[in-house]
Amino acid sequence: MLEILGYYNYWVFALVLMIGFYAVVARGNLIKKLLGLSMLQSAVFLMYITLSKVEGATAPILQKGVEDQIYSNPLPQVLILTAIVVGVSTTALGLAIVVRIKEAYGTIEEQDILKASGP
């Protein structure tokens, strides 16, 4: 039972990744696409943090006076820490483009934009 649950994180990673991807490809609304994109991003973050976990370990902040403590892997955490802030800035860039599209075409639906811009 517990053996199987050890893979649960990966399944959730797969599900959330693909739910986000579905929003990007199948939904016509541009803001919905960006929400899907940030979900996809979060799924990748979850994957990396899952890789950094070590059984019986604690967060990689050294404790004074505690011997024989194992610590989780700090490297994936560093990569994701910076990626979160970068993710917000790039999402904001995407939203800025959406705002300009709305001003130029009067809509943020993909089909209407394609119709308005001609064949």
């Binding site: 604690t58 967060a59 902040i61 404790q63």
Partner: protein, 91 residues
């Protein structure tokens, strides 16, 4: 002991998420988000002790502070929207 309490908080979080999914009005959902934020702060302060690392209480502190900003941003959004729709906001 900590485990029991964190389990109770987890179940409450599930209930809050169900409320957020069901709606029916947008205010219900904002209420659920606010409730969820408070529960997260409580859960983190309990789990910090469950893990035996009380120096991680900073996280619960930041939740208690940031959650409020989110709710105020929603409030300002409502105010802007009603101003744009031409309703007069009286207070």
């Amino acid at each position: 002991m900590y485990f029991t309490v964190s389990l109770a908080i987890l179940v409450t979080m599930v209930l809050a998420v169900i409320r957020a999914l069901k709606g029916p009005s947008v205010y219900d959902r904002v209420l659920a988000v606010n409730m969820f934020g408070t529960k997260t702060a409580l859960l983190l302060s309990v789990v910090a002790f469950l893990y035996g690392r009380p120096d991680f209480l900073d996280l619960a502190l930041i939740y208690a502070l940031i959650n409020f900003v989110g709710v105020l941003a929603v409030l300002e959004f409502f105010q802007k929207r009603s101003a744009a729709q031409g309703h007069t906001t009286k207070d």
